[in-house]
């Protein structure tokens, strides 16, 4: 057990810090297009947009530990993401690298790295939210085209994306995960209709996507027919370093502490109330546990262990923290907490972030069944 960085790691951290000093001004705005353009240009030059990708695919072949150091330094400095096409870089790129033909790589990877692509991913379907094995969106091969008919739901950013990476059923008779195939489909294909799903605050990031006899050239199939599940699992296994969640909660805690210090509650600063202080301390314990859980998981991965269900731990911790921290912010605000404002919006909108990774009950099942070996539902 040793939390000091090795000389190589220290050198890499210095390189990252120099990069950030140079390309990330203190006053940089994540909404400023000029800044973002120069930020992405600098990253491209470093080949850091596909940081973990092989060099022949345009990446920097960064190790897990380097990824961790890069992400941590970026988080500390509140840097914008490495690229603009989050879904494409996270899901589509790794799947292409593992299973794409040379032609497919040449066709799609450069756009991903250039930041000119915008992908969404189609996994969930109505009535089969968390149960991918039973997906029903159908694709039938006719000549050199698939005809896709069916629906996808909870498709993040589908209303803005140019392409969708989607799982379809090509063999309705095959059991469970067999018979699923992966297709890459332009969102402007005839027969695709996108219906936004506004969330409870009226904001749209989710969509329902309808496919009516959509033609997809067989060249757009990623991997073999019936291997869609394997292709996607390969992308999953190419694990990202999950530092963002604990850093995000840690920032959230800093802001909450600042609120407690400054907001008056019952005639005193909220932080004068030991109930408030102790709740903040308990948040700190769980957030720091999340960060160190991630580190332990990373260490195990560096030692060669397979990705495990331990990531469910932090998802559960995060869910409870989202709820409890947003409640405390509203309690501190008191009656003013029911007027509109940023804390109030956050207190409504966290629900979506929890659902994203599967409901807390699904996470509890994963821990109970896969880790503790308890009987399945």
């Amino acid at each position: 057990m040793n939390f000091d960085l090795s000389p190589d790691e220290t050198a890499f951290r210095s390189e990252v810090r120099r990069f950030l000093d140079k390309h990330l001004p203190d006053d940089a705005s994540h909404e400023d297009p000029d800044f973002l353009e120069s930020w992405h240009a600098a990253l491209r030059e470093k080949r850091w947009i596909g940081f973990a990708w092989p060099e022949e695919d345009g990446g920097a072949a960064g190790t897990l530990m380097e990824q961790f150091i890069l992400k941590q330094e970026m988080a500390t400095r509140n840097a914008p993401p490495l690229g603009s096409d989050f879904m494409g870089l996270t899901w589509v790129g790794p799947a292409l690298i593992a299973h794409g033909t040379p032609e497919q790589k040449a066709r799609f990877l450069p756009d991903l790295l250039a930041g000119t692509s915008s992908w969404c991913t189609g996994y969930s379907e109505p009535d089969h939210g968390s149960d991918l094995a039973s997906l029903q969106c159908r694709a039938v091969l006719e000549g050199d085209e698939y005809r896709v008919t069916g629906q996808k739901i909870w498709t993040t950013l589908a209303h803005e994306a140019k392409w969708i990476y989607m799982m379809v059923r090509t063999d309705p008779d095959a059991r469970k995960y067999r018979g699923i195939t992966c297709l890459l489909v332009p969102m402007n294909s005839p027969g695709i209709e996108v219906r936004p799903i506004p969330n409870l605050s009226g904001v749209t990031s989710f969509n329902q996507v309808f496919f009516d006899n959509v033609r997809v050239p067989v060249d757009n199939r990623l991997g073999e027919e019936g291997q869609g599940w394997l292709v996607t699992m390969a992308a999953l296994a190419n694990e990202r370093i999950g530092i963002s969640e604990s850093t995000e909660k840690s920032d959230h805690l800093d802001r909450l502490i600042e609120l407690a210090r400054t907001a008056q509650r019952k005639g005193k600063p909220a932080s004068a109330d030991p109930t408030v202080r102790r709740r903040l301390a308990r948040f700190e314990a769980r957030i720091e546990a999340m960060r160190l859980n991630e580190l332990r998981h990373l260490s195990a991965r560096l030692e060669g262990s397979a990705p495990s269900s331990e990531t469910s731990l932090n998802k559960l911790l995060r869910g409870e923290l989202e709820f409890e921290m947003s409640e405390l912010s509203l309690e501190i605000l008191g009656t003013a907490g029911l007027e509109e404002g940023p804390w109030q919006r956050a207190a409504l909108n966290w629900h979506g972030t929890i659902i994203g990774g599967g409901s807390p009950n699904i996470q509890r099942n994963i821990v109970a069944e896969r880790i503790l070996g308890l009987p399945k539902d």
């Binding site: 969930s124 939210g129 409870l200 019952k266 509203l330 003013a336 029911l338 629900h351 979506g352 807390p360």
Partner: protein, 376 residues
């Protein structure tokens, strides 16, 4: 001794429910809150005709002459429908005039409140949000037989709908020298501002008072001695809001129970899983427990006023904690759809956020209960 509702009370509940189910279902409510003024004025006139606006106003003043148990029934049902209306505000205003007004004041104000031609609200809290005498900084200066009020009032329900505000202000140097008066919305120096509220079925805002002149006939009760009246008014508000919360919580529980029966996942209705059914069972336990405390608090308002502070605090404390949890859990148990605008659970979640701080949050009432036990 009897903890049940009478046949008349049950009949009142049934007829309120039937009317709201027909005329103010959730699709109606969604239409109203998406358009200006956020409620139906036509529906409001019908409520007046049905006598709901004057439920506790004496018959001599055009009301039904009933009591707080009947009001509780009414608010449970309007809460179940998330009815957007100034019913709670105008009821508290009429209660203040009924409890503390002179015969002349009652005759002047109550009939117009009962028939809906006037709407009232209350203006107690200030930006500090602290429910103690010292936190009321709006100040009345004596001006002959009149008072002139300078100050600011916050967190006022139905600011845009009320014709007048029962307002608390300081008239002396000592903390508890508080007075109550009726402030006309149109009086010189009155400035109202609507503030967007997280729960669109409720309307909120603030009031600025710039040397507003108060005539002697607008003063409610004796000057300087209104703090107990303010406390009672907040207790009445806590009871009415808790009644609404009980109805809302029952409604969102029913929606979620139905969803748990209908929604199939992994080959089972999700309500089969203890991870779903047990939280729903806990919600039922909490709602029934809040009802027990609420009904006793409502009865005490007329039947045993000395017990009202304790029981209104017990009810509001329990409900503030529980409804918060119920609102969140019901959205969560719906999975992803719970988070969408389309499903109704989120409307109740927003109401639970509105409810929690109103008329004192959980900590306020817990501290008050501890103080009643001599702990401080």
């Amino acid at each position: 001794m009897n903890f049940g509702f009478t046949e008349e009370q049950q009949f009142l509940r049934d007829s309120v429910r039937k009317f709201l189910d027909e005329r103010a279902s959730i699709p109606h409510v969604r239409n109203w809150i998406e358009s200006d003024p956020g409620m139906s004025l036509e529906f409001w006139r019908e409520l007046a005709e049905l006598g709901w606006l004057g439920l506790t106003i004496p018959e001599t003043h055009g009301g039904a002459g009933l009591g707080w148990v009947e009001l509780t029934v009414l608010f449970e049902e309007t809460g179940r429908s998330l009815l957007p209306s100034p019913l709670l505000s105008t009821t508290l205003a009429s209660t203040a005039i009924l409890d503390h007004g002179t015969p002349d004041q009652r005759s002047r104000w109550l009939p117009s409140l009962a028939d809906g031609s006037r709407v009232g609200s209350i203006a107690i809290l200030e930006p500090s949000d602290h429910l103690v005498p010292s936190a009321l900084q709006a100040r009345g200066e004596a001006d002959g037989s009149h008072w002139r009020i300078h100050g600011e009032k916050s967190f006022i329900c139905d600011i845009d709908r009320a014709d007048f505000f029962v307002t608390a202000f300081r008239t002396g140097e000592n903390d508890e020298e508080i007075s109550l008066a009726i402030v006309d919305r149109g009086a010189p120096g009155v400035h109202t501002e609507k503030v967007p509220c997280l729960d669109s079925t409720k309307s909120m805002g603030r009031l600025k008072l710039d040397g507003v002149q108060i005539a002697p006939e607008a003063m409610l009760g004796a000057p300087h001695q209104a703090w107990p009246a303010v406390e009672r008014l907040m207790d009445q508000g806590a009871v009415a809001a808790t009644a609404e919360a009980v109805g809302s919580a029952e409604a969102v529980l029913a929606i979620t129970v139905q969803y748990a029966k209908d929604r199939v996942q992994f080959g089972q209705p999700i309500g089969h899983f203890q991870g779903v059914k047990h939280p729903l069972a806990e919600m039922h336990v909490d709602i029934e427990s809040i009802k027990s405390l609420l009904y006793y608090a409502a009865w005490s308002l007329e039947g045993s006023p000395a017990e009202t502070p304790r029981y209104s605090s017990l009810a509001k404390l329990y409900a503030s904690d529980a409804f918060t949890r119920i609102g969140v859990d019901c959205v969560q148990l719906h999975g992803a759809v719970g988070y969408t605008m389309e499903y109704d659970a989120q409307l109740y979640l927003k109401r639970s956020k509105w409810f929690r701080p109103m008329f004192g949050d959980a900590d306020h009432h817990a501290d008050r209960l501890a103080a009643l036990r001599g702990l401080r």
